[in-house]
């Protein structure tokens, strides 16, 4: 524990229980194909993809089924060999129905990926590589699902010298990045080299929290004596994996408020994203499956599963030994993930975990909400040094404009640290989300 004090970190933050021990030791396992696969056309940040298939069409696993609609969009590929049942409105994790391609799987098929080619990435130009990444359908594999090719495209007036590779995985329960660094470090290194070529970065630093020293060792071994790529060990603390915080810890640079990492010469990518780029790009494959952690008190067989995109949550949960009585399903980590509105929604590209909390776990969170007692714990937790207590009071008075103009509301990235520590159990983050969306409405 004390060794961790030697490692670099950002100021403030919180230490939620890691809860990673059970799944961190479990190798990645493949989950069987669900008889029904649902591929929403909008799984990413940006314009929804346009369906290329029609009802009754036979599909081969890996074949493109939806095309990108513009630069800020990505295509979709068939996660399974099967037949299109329709292109319909289906429930999404957030509630409102969205358009999705429904596929009935041929469970007897070999599920071989037929659609692939060759790409000599060392000969390709950065523009070609960016196009190829867009064709693969890659998006950031945690959070909002930001298209990877957009992230790697640096505006012409900026130069990037450093690629920061985010392997922190600071959210409790999540262990997919950890397993990936252990099991697929070759793919990751290849992905890093491709990203360096695209962005023009001269060096890459992989930021890993010090609770994953085995991954650090594995990475260092794979890197060998390549001087351009290094591993930066950072202290285990939430939210160490927030890109602007990690970037500051590893490079000492601070991204201007409201700005982007490329403004300080850095591009940040997640290890899961880069490992998949390294895996898919040389073979020109599309993104059809991802690794997710299924864990929490409500499942009997927690683990890290390689799961076809579009698998309904219900199927995934049953496979993981779901008791059927839990009341809270979280897509993503417990600090920033969303609850799923129904068991029928599918696993999409940005979903990094499926957590099942039971009623017992819930009771401890059911503290009543009381007025703010000005204890200041939220200030000590906020990694961007906001004043959540004051923002909360302004929110209660509906002074949303003041929150943004004078108290930097828009610098809040909704990490949840303030709500996590608040003894009055004030839903601060929820207030801030509401305030932001009202401000956005008003700006229209």
């Amino acid at each position: 524990m004390f060794t961790s004090l030697w490692h670099r970190t950002f100021s403030h933050g919180v230490h939620p229980p890691e809860e990673k021990a059970t799944t961190a030791a479990l190798p990645i396992r493949r989950m069987p194909f669900s008889p029904r696969i649902v591929v929403p056309l909008s799984q990413h940040f940006g314009a929804a993809a346009k369906a290329l298939v029609h009802k009754g069409q036979e599909l081969v696993r890996g074949e493109p089924i939806a095309a990108a609609d513009g630069f800020m969009s990505v295509p979709m590929h068939a996660p399974v060999t099967g037949i299109v049942e329709g292109v319909e409105l289906t429930p999404s994790a957030r509630g409102p129905k969205t358009e999705a391609i429904i596929i009935r799987s041929h469970l007897a098929a070999s599920q071989q990926v037929m659609y692939e080619g060759d790409l000599d990435w060392q000969q390709a130009t950065p523009e070609e590589l960016i196009w190829q990444i867009q064709q693969s359908g890659m998006v950031g594999l945690g959070g909002a699902g930001f298209p990877s090719h957009v992230k790697l495209k640096i505006p012409a007036e900026y130069t990037v010298d450093t690629l920061v590779v985010n392997g922190c995985e600071c959210e409790p329960y999540l262990t997919t990045d950890h397993r990936l660094m252990l099991e697929r470090s070759d793919d990751l290194l290849l992905g890093i080299r491709i990203a360096m070529r695209i962005s023009g970065a001269k060096r890459a630093i992989i930021g890993v929290e010090d609770n994953k020293m085995d991954a650090v060792a594995a990475l260092r071994q794979t890197i060998g004596n390549d001087k351009t790529i290094s591993v930066g060990v950072v202290r285990s603390k939430y939210p160490q994996g927030a890109e602007k915080l990690l970037l500051k810890v590893l490079t000492g640079r601070e991204v201007p408020s409201g700005g982007f990492p490329f403004q300080v010469g850095v591009v940040v990518n997640n290890v899961a994203t880069l490992a998949l780029i390294g895996n898919l790009l040389p073979r020109r494959r599309g993104l059809i499956e991802r690794i997710i952690t299924i864990a929490g008190p409500g499942v009997k067989k927690p683990g890290n599963y390689l799961i076809p995109l579009g698998t309904p949550i219900r199927f995934a949960l049953e496979h993981a030994g779901y008791f059927g009585d839990a009341s809270r399903l979280i897509l993503g980590g417990p600090m920033m993930g969303n609850t799923a509105a129904s068991l029928d929604v599918p696993i999409t590209k940005p979903v990094s975990a499926l957590l099942v909390f039971d009623k017992a776990a819930k009771a401890s969170e059911a503290q009543p909400i009381s007025p703010c007692i000005y204890c200041g714990r939220c200030l000590d937790a906020c990694p961007v040094h906001l004043n959540p207590a004051h923002l909360g009071r302004l929110a209660a008075k509906r002074q949303y404009a003041t929150m943004a103009n004078e108290f930097h509301l828009n610098d809040c990235f909704e990490c949840g640290s303030c709500s996590y520590v608040c003894p009055a159990n004030i839903p601060l983050v929820q207030y801030f989300r509401i305030a932001k969306s009202i401000n956005r409405e008003r700006a229209r």
Partner: protein, 372 residues
């Protein structure tokens, strides 16, 4: 068995929460105050006990009354009125007439808390509001200290305790003198607090005595060690912000030191300053009250230093021997202002693009490249 579709709960992140609740924190403050209460009763006997019960009882009843009026629910569950009652009682002289104690308690809740809208909205520390009110209303009674460790303290009431409402309290000095004769303790006759003794007689006692307060004569004086020990419990449980008392005591020390070095016959030595009067109790249990203090890190420092500074200035140059109460109330009043000028610097604010990495604009940025 039929498969039931589980009720899926929708809520927003974060989905985990870790903290003591507000009532738990308040209850722990009560626990931390208990040793002080016991010691106080041990020092002054049944009069002190009765005063404590009356004061605490009145705060609780007033809290309930005002909460009912405002339509709030189960206000006593957060235990904050209990803390107010205990702190208020500990700042009163043990022989304080009970009816005056009840008034102090009522005022503490009514003017200190209820008119602001209850816990969390109050500007001032309620206990000090009550104390300040009776200081102004009953200037004689509030300064009539009975010596500690009187021999008959568990058997007899101090005469002033039982004074009837609106009556001038009986003078306790003859009673004290009698007690003194009976037990042949002549020392006990002094009823001045160490601070008053210093202020008016230039006597500054012994530091160890102030830390322990085990000998008679040190009236109105809580043992410093015990106060520190109780506060450490809260600090260790992360239920008190240690920066506040440290800043208050630091502020008092750095104000007292130059004064003492300048003229040690006129000004008290800094350690004496820290250990006397209500400074320790005030710094550790009243100034640190979260509600009335700023939350910003630099704000906390300034707030504490101001309180320490003002305390020493009042003590050294004012007509009153004690200044900590007014200093804290002043600090409470200034807290919103202090906080507004000490907002922390937010990540990324005031930094600019690294110009070394910026190329001369060759082509314009396309709109699609602006993201997130």
């Amino acid at each position: 068995m039929k498969k039931v579709q589980p009720l899926v709960e929708i809520r927003t992140s974060p989905h985990i929460h870790h903290s003591h609740s507000v009532p738990q924190i308040m209850l722990n403050v009560v626990y931390a105050l208990l040793p002080l209460v016991l010691f106080w009763v041990f020092q002054y006997g049944i009069s002190a006990l009765l005063l404590l019960l009356v004061v605490v009882g009145t705060t609780l009843l007033s809290e309930r009354f005002f909460a009912r009026m405002a339509g709030r629910q189960s206000p006593l569950n957060d235990h904050s009125a209990l803390i107010t009652g205990i702190l208020l009682a500990l700042t009163l002289p043990p022989g304080f007439p009970l009816w005056m104690g009840a008034i102090a308690a009522f005022v503490a809740i009514a003017l200190g808390k209820a008119i602001f809208g209850g816990l969390g909205y109050n500007l001032f520390n309620p206990a000090l509001v009550g104390r300040a009110f009776v200081q102004a209303a009953f200037p004689v009674a509030i300064t009539s200290w009975t010596p500690a460790y009187l021999p008959g303290r568990f058997l007899e009431f101090i005469p002033s305790t039982l004074a009837l409402p609106l009556m001038r309290p009986a003078d306790s000095s003859t009673w004290i003198a009698e007690l003194g004769q009976r037990s042949e303790i002549t020392d006990a006759l002094t009823s001045a607090t160490p601070l008053a003794a210093w202020k008016f007689a230039g006597d500054s006692g012994d530091h160890w005595q102030l830390l322990l307060s085990l000998t008679s004569g040190a009236s109105g004086q809580m043992p410093g060690l015990l106060i520190i020990f109780c506060a450490l419990y809260l600090i260790a449980r992360n239920m008190m912000n240690w920066r506040i008392p440290v800043a208050v005591l630091g502020g008092a020390f750095i104000t007292a030191l130059p004064l003492y070095l300048y003229d040690s016959s006129r000004f008290a030595d800094p350690l004496f300053v820290l250990l006397t009067g209500g400074l320790l109790l005030g710094a550790l249990f009243m100034a640190s009250d979260m509600v009335g203090s700023p939350v910003t890190p630099r704000g906390i420092l300034i707030y504490g230093l101001v309180i320490g500074f003002v305390t020493v200035i009042i003590r050294s140059f004012g007509a009153l021997p004690e200044g900590v109460m007014y200093a804290i109330l002043l600090g409470n009043a200034l807290a919103p202002l202090i906080e507004s000028v000490t907002q922390p610097r937010v990540y990324g604010v005031g930094v600019t693009t690294l110009s070394a990495l910026k190329k001369p604009p060759a082509t314009a940025t396309t709109p699609e490249q602006r993201h997130e």
